[in-house]
Assembly symmetry: C2
Homo-oligomer: 144 residues x 2
DNA sequence: CATATTAATTCCCAAATGGAACCTTCATAC
DNA sequence: GTATGAAGGTTCCATTTGGGAATTAATATG
């Protein structure tokens, strides 16, 4: 099966990956969450080629993860911003970051720390049950 | 910059993606969480080519996400199981699934439902603060 | 001995990627 | 009005990666 056809699978993970599962895409999203908005900023932050970046941004816009918003006229220039759909990727991003911190920490410590403004503490993300607020662990969850 | 060099970035997301950010890899992990263990099972579930599958499994084993465990002698056959490191990807997987359910739901409803054995309810994953147990939202988290 | 099972590997062609140069629209400076 | 520069792309081409089918390897079974 071609990778391009995975969005036809009856699986939310596969369908999610058909949008954000390509090389560079999640790094673009990461940068977007950290405030990057413009083409050249993305390009120099990521080191991805302009061609690839252009392609990925276009796809993310097509899928409604980013929107192009004009920030000046003459010449018209657009910047890319996360939509609600894009903001919805926050848990994915934070979970990835957390896993990277926990398991891929090659001698250089956690690159970023996070402060939760709501409680004022240094925080890390925990996956919790929507109903009982206890942490969700794979053994305790039955998919049906 | 080459994709292969992203693990050199000082970013946990980039380092995580250097292991699980390639095509098919997260789908292999998904299947592993659902109980798939053997080469041919992965192959027929995913529809990935044997070549690609072999390559990805090898990489996951090298990075300690999966282990090869012999399940018979003569001929020795191995199956692939999630390690603790691999199990650590649960939040990433569940967050992806949740996002797919919420935003990529092409007319066919949520493919899987999840029951939390701890509380007995149908559940979905929520990203919570490790300190105050409130949901973590991007606006309320300051990276430093 | 022939066939089946499971896990790979090889080969060949198609598709995706990386790198660098080029293009377009306008503003500003000379 | 020509030159320079900034922002956001596109084009071109060589290299890398991926897909598909056939093949190999180790052994059990008939």
């Amino acid at each position: 099966m071609r990778w391009d056809d995975i969005d036809k699978q009856v699986c939310s993970v596969a369908r999610a990956l058909s949008v954000v599962g390509e090389r560079w895409t999640m790094l673009i999203i990461r940068d977007a969450f950290l405030g990057t908005r413009r083409f050249d900023q993305f390009q120099s932050n990521l080191g991805v080629t302009r061609h690839r970046l252009s392609e990925r941004l276009t796809k993310l816009v097509e899928h409604g993860v980013l929107v192009k918003v004009p920030y000046q006229d003459r010449p018209v220039r657009y910047e890319y911003r996360l939509t609600r759909k894009g903001l919805g990727l926050y848990p994915v991003l934070m979970s990835l970051a957390r896993w990277g911190d926990d398991w891929m920490d090659k001698d250089q410590g956690a690159p970023l720390e996070y402060v939760h403004q709501t409680c004022g503490n240094k925080t890390h993300p925990v996956l919790a049950c929507s109903e009982c607020v206890e942490p969700l662990k794979p053994e305790a969850v039955t998919p049906q």
